[in-house]
Amino acid sequence: MTIRIVRAGPLTTIQDAGRPGQLRHGISASGPMDRTSFRRAGGWLGAASSAGIEFTQAGLSFLVEDEGVSCAFDGGDFTLKVDGVSQLWPTRVVLGPGSVVDILPGGAGNYGYIRFDREIDVPVVMGSRATSSIAGLGGFDGRALGKGDVLRFGAALAPGRAPHPHAAEVAAGPIRVTWGIHADGFDPAIRQRFVEESFVISNQIDRMGVRLTDRANVFAGAGILSLVSDAVVPGDVQILGDGTPIVLMRDHQPTGGYPRIATVVTADLDRLAQLRPGSEVRFEPITVAHAQELMR
């Protein structure tokens, strides 16, 4: 079974659970920007292969070249058409040979996912098929998918029982954080304003990081100095020398030398990834124990 990409928005990549445990080699884990939606899409198939396609706001179109394939879609809110016929979102469909899938921009979110009932035939690199945009490895030749690319698939998995696809409840409220490894280096007044003021998701978002606009000038003139570099984890909120806050995401730099005031909790990182440029975001500090309860 093969599919041919007809149109791809920027940063369309192959992702799977990622390659954690490689930081000392200089490789961050990658994996889906919105892990919850990636998992949900797999759940609608019952038996999904490990790797899927992550697409971005502009969507994706592809042609099923031969055989049929079962696939499921979830993440954000996109407009989906199969052979010109509108479908629900999220959904599960069986595509026959010659089917054309058009994913068009929708009402919400930055990232959507397609999972398949068979494995995408790309090499496993360092234990994973995930594309690392920062290291340029994994996935499809280490790069984003583009028009004309052909993806080959393995044999179909035995079908599993799966619930009927339904939309997820979208959580609201502040993005919760634990205080960061350099929080004590910030003036208490700046820490207080960090949790009182709101920030705006800028246009500069990618798999490495989400740059925020600091409208209230919380960090302007904060005298940010670079430090001896430490390891980075996804969700770290790093403040650049000019006062720009960046939330480091799945393809983060492995180490960082700018101060990190906070770390977005695991339970809220997927939601942050889906916030579109222009969205307002507030941060609320919670304890590590609370953050761990939220993961369950």
Partner: protein, 213 residues
């Protein structure tokens, strides 16, 4: 130098030895990472030594932050404990970097004397992981310590030998850098197809050797 143990996110614990890069802090970080790894604490999924800190990633379903912090305290080496030296390696370098003349001038040496001083003794690998296969080596004596460049180069190729802040670094992938370029090497510390993608580890000792073009 009292180590500080603090959470980094909800699945990480960071142990930091001081605020500045010193041999003592780096040795302590490398030693702790190796002790933690050998201890095989249940729930710890990754141990990453950095320049002056160690990251432990853990599975909170298997171990809590406080309990892990307690285990780590028990593993702190007594001050001044001798760390076993790592593997000895030698890396051949063509010293023809575009910043060599400037560095020679700043350090008050001739170009050849600078290269000789640079290679005078083996350097310790202080840390890895800034980029795939990237290694930091140090520390050079104070006489050779030169700050980073004002201007960042957008990209230097794999195999570039860099110099700044009392250290020498070797790239294994193209990266942007504000460090000075002193040479290039055919040595690569990154093979994504290998079982162990990088072979140089913190604590190894590297002798740089000048070779002709």
């Amino acid at each position: 130098m009292t180590p500080v143990i603090l959470p980094i996110g909800d699945q990480g614990l960071l142990v930091r030895f001081g605020e500045t890069l010193t041999d003592e802090a780096n040795l302590a970080a490398v030693a702790l990472a190796s002790r933690v790894e050998r201890a095989g604490i249940g729930g710890v999924v990754e141990v990453v030594p950095n320049l002056i800190s160690v990251l432990l990633r853990y599975d909170p379903r298997a171990i809590g932050f406080e309990r892990l912090a307690g285990e780590v305290r028990l593993l702190m080496a007594p001050a001044g404990e001798q760390v076993e030296d790592g593997v000895e390696r030698s890396i051949e370098v063509v010293f023809d970097g575009e910043d060599l003349d400037e560095l020679a001038e700043v350090t008050g040496l001739t170009r050849d004397a600078f290269i000789a001083a640079h290679n005078a003794r083996p350097l310790r690998v202080l840390a890895t992981g800034f980029a795939p296969g990237f290694i930091y080596c140090g520390m050079h004596p104070d006489a050779l310590a030169v700050p980073r460049r004002q201007v960042v180069r957008r990209q230097v190729p794999a195999g570039t030998v860099l110099f700044a802040a009392g250290q020498t670094a070797v790239t294994s992938t193209p990266i942007p850098t504000g460090w000075h370029i002193i040479g290039r090497t055919g040595f690569r510390n990154f093979d994504p197809g290998a079982n162990t993608p990088t072979t140089v580890v913190a604590g190894d000792r590297i002798q740089f050797e000048a070779v002709a073009l």
